[in-house]
Amino acid sequence: MISGEQLPRRSLLWLIACQIAVMLPHLERVPLWVVMIYLATALWRLQMFRQRAEMPNKWLRLLLGIAGATLLFISYGTFVGLEPMVALLLVAAALKILESIRERDGYLLVFLGFFICVTHFIFIQTLPATLYTVCCTGLLVTALITLNQNPSGGISNREPALAIKMLTLAVPMMVVLFFLFPRIGPIWSVPSSSGQGKTGMSDFLRPGAVTKLGRSADVAFRAGFSDVIPANSALYWRGLVLSKFDEGAWRTLQWRELPVSERQGVPPEVFGDPLQYRVLLEPTQQRWLYGIAYAKSPTAGVYEASDYRLGVVNPVEFQFGYDVTSWPASVLQPNLSDWRRRVETEFPKGINPLTEVWVRDLRRQYSNDRDFVGALLNYFRTQPFFYTLEPPEILSSDFVDQFIFNSRRGFCEHFAYSFVAMLRMVGIPARIVAGYQGGEVNPLNNTVVVRQFDAHAWAEVWMDGEGWIRVDPTAAVSPSRIEFGLEAALEGASGFLSDSIISAYRFRGIRVLNWMRLRYDALAFGWQSFIVSFDSARQIELLRGWFGEIKVSWFVTLLLGSWAAILLPLMLWLSRERSVQRLLPEERRFVDLCSRLEQRGLHRPFGEAPLRTLRRVREHLPEGDPLYGALEDAVANLYAKASKP
């Protein structure tokens, strides 16, 4: 074996460190045994490094490879999909550590490492993830440097320092590429997220569904307002409209259930001051978006359904940003079609007999729809109803009877469910709306941060001439929920955030920490809305703003020109630095004086010592020439000052 081909011993340590570092972010999405393989192969390789173990032979390695692939298939049940693919890559890299003997194996490991770094971005693009990847890149570059340097010598900080310098020099290029490099859409697509990870709301509502969300402080979305943020009690983020009652659960009307005439919604007449904001939705794996009614979005790909909610065609797999304009004062659907009226009043008869009797009695007292609604709300308000995150479970089908007359303890969906059911029993069109209510205002960047525990369900009631109006029975029971949020409404009751024990949100009582939390949230919002969601549309928009109309030829010129503009000075600077040493200021002065001598026709030959130059020049310069004095000073200045040890 030629020694030059061998993997330098100290590179190995860096390479193993790199591999572990790039694998760590994938911990949450690969089976634990993949990590075990990593640790085992790293350990084995280290033992080989210490001459304590042999490299496994060809057959054993082959066996390990096959075993890894088989285990993966057993773990995931398929090779199709992002997670199995990434896991396969990780297993391959882990096994590669074991047989890395030669220098080219080292290069392979480094490039595998870069690739694994990139796969991380498929799943997550947050600021911390990016910073972590930058660190990994630094490690990988360090490993690459050690592969290219004298193999002897121990671990020193010279290589990391060089790596940091190299990456810093690459920053201008990165910025240019970020803004100018054409963004090409994905060429292929891989089915992602094998079923898991649907967070937040689901598209049907069963009692207890929203309650679960009350335990989590995960961010659902952030909304950055361009102007004043409305009061908390007006922040009803409409997500789903649940018009259909099916087997004990409320669900949305599917598109194919709509008659052709109903499929196209009629945009309402807008009036009042619009609200402008941009929503940055965390991945939900669902097809609906959130907005304050009546909401309209100019963002490409966002459509408006006939019940005035916003939606997208494909599930939101990554953070998704969209602009919204809302007119809260608009009248939604002033005229109700017969079909719509029939659907929105449908509720199975006979399953809640007690309630049916009771509402029919009440309806006799209040024939006016508005009065009837008021009476129902008053009932909630005056009777001992409780708002709680831990309601007793009602499993029988007569949910409304049980809730209204028996348990009377519930979360928002219990109230919305019963309320809408009661209205439908007397033939008033009503439906449940699910979404979020309120949110935390971050004054640092004028955004509202909406978390999972802000999830809420309320009702919409159709009134003649007024269209669909929002009625929130929860507000009748617990007004503080609407004005101050869930935590205030529960007042320390158990259950709140019980799934997010260490969430920073819990520590916002401490002022500094809270400020830091808000600051970080503002930063994250900026990162997401300016960096991550910088797609080709925004790129073109930005470049148009800078340069006007864009032609392809011109764009290519700009791209290449900017590369040259960055790389050439960098190259020059680097080559200057490499040319032995840069001039000291005193030396610069001496050189300047020499070039002035040159102008007078007095050339200093290469290598001539300064005192000799002085002696020679004195004869040619007139008596008392200031140039001679300056030169004399410069020489003394250059050499008389002892260097500091």
């Binding site: 040319s579 032995v580 040493q581 840069r582 001039l583 000291l584 005193e586 030396e587 001496f590 050189v591 290469f606 290598g607 001539e608 010592a609 300064p610 005192l611 000799r612 020489v635 003394a636 250059l638 050499y639 008389a640 000052k641 002892a642 260097s643």
Partner: protein, 310 residues
């Protein structure tokens, strides 16, 4: 410490030596510079060029106790270091010091001795002590070796290895005298040095001068110049072996002395250039496909490295 007028003392010494060694002022200065830097001196030249005369003159003018050893192929280490002899009266061995226990040892025609004897001397030069019969004996505080040698291609010589050449601070050659100087020499005949040369300085003065020289300032720019010089010898393909750190240190030391001899308390590239060839030429080894010798390499070095980087 008394104030020492170093340049004046040196000038006097140079003129004294000039009485016997005509027209070789620059070489004499370089030789004095070498001794002031506490370095050993190697004089290399053909027979009859005045090597021994210079060595004698230096010893006289500095007022040092001195001994001369003519190196031959049968010279033994004990002939230089000394030997223990049995004293009958005291019934014990008594050490009889060799010529090396003088302040100045003139090793004439060093390359005629066998390597064994050469290395006995060179060890003493490096460590300033000798070990005889298991006891270390220190050499005088002022200890110089002036060795002379004939060019190596002469018959009956053992060339000094590079490692031992490196122990000499400078290697000087005298060369043929100038036309004028030679005529004067022929006119008056050779003079015995003892008769002509007066002692011009004391040992205390010599030690004081060393202290002064030690204080000479070295600027960043100058150190960088020296580093560029050394770097060039290590990188250029003409050099088989570059200058060692000991060589670079020797260069700095000699340049400091030269600066003081010129009456300056700081070193400039002029000083470095003045001592460059004697200090480094014998330490440089040309690569196999380079035709020139050490001197040619120094010339190459000077033509390639400027005092200020461009």
């Amino acid at each position: 410490m008394p104030v020492i007028d170093l340049p004046a003392l040196i000038d006097r010494a140079v003129s004294e030596i000039g009485e016997v060694l005509l027209g070789k002022e620059q070489t004499v200065r370089q030789a004095l510079c070498c001794l002031l830097t506490s370095g050993h001196l190697l004089l290399e030249d053909l027979p009859g060029m005045g090597k021994t005369t210079l060595a004698h003159a230096l010893a006289d003018v500095l007022g040092l106790s001195y001994a001369r050893v003519q190196f031959t192929s049968d010279l033994l280490p004990s002939d230089i270091l000394g030997v223990s002899v049995f004293n009958r009266d005291q019934e014990a061995f008594q050490f009889r010091p060799g010529p090396i226990f003088n302040q100045l040892l003139l090793a004439d025609e060093i390359n005629r001795a066998t390597p064994r004897t050469q290395s006995a001397l060179l060890e003493a030069m490096a460590e300033q002590q000798v070990s005889i019969d298991g006891a270390s004996r220190p050499l005088p505080e002022l200890f110089f070796v002036i060795a002379t040698q004939n060019p190596m291609h002469q018959s009956g010589t053992y060339a000094l290895p590079e490692s031992q050449l490196d122990r000499f601070l400078m290697r000087l050659s005298l060369g043929y005298p100038h036309f004028e100087a030679e005529r004067e020499l022929l006119q008056r005949g050779a003079l015995p040095t003892k008769a002509v040369i007066n002692r011009t300085m004391t040992s205390q003065q010599l030690l004081a001068m060393r202290a002064v020289i030690h204080e000479t300032a070295l600027s960043d720019s100058l150190l960088r110049y020296i580093q560029r010089l050394t770097a060039f010898t290590r990188e250029a393909p003409e050099f088989a072996v570059g200058l060692s750190p000991r060589g670079a240190l020797a260069l700095v030391g000699a340049a400091k002395t030269w600066a003081q001899m010129e009456g300056r308390d700081y070193v400039t590239p002029d000083d470095v250039q003045a001592v460059l060839a004697p200090v480094i030429a014998h330490r440089l080894i040309p690569s196999a496909d380079y035709a020139g010798d050490g001197e040619a390499l120094v010339a190459l070095l000077r033509s390639q490295v400027d005092v200020i980087p461009d």
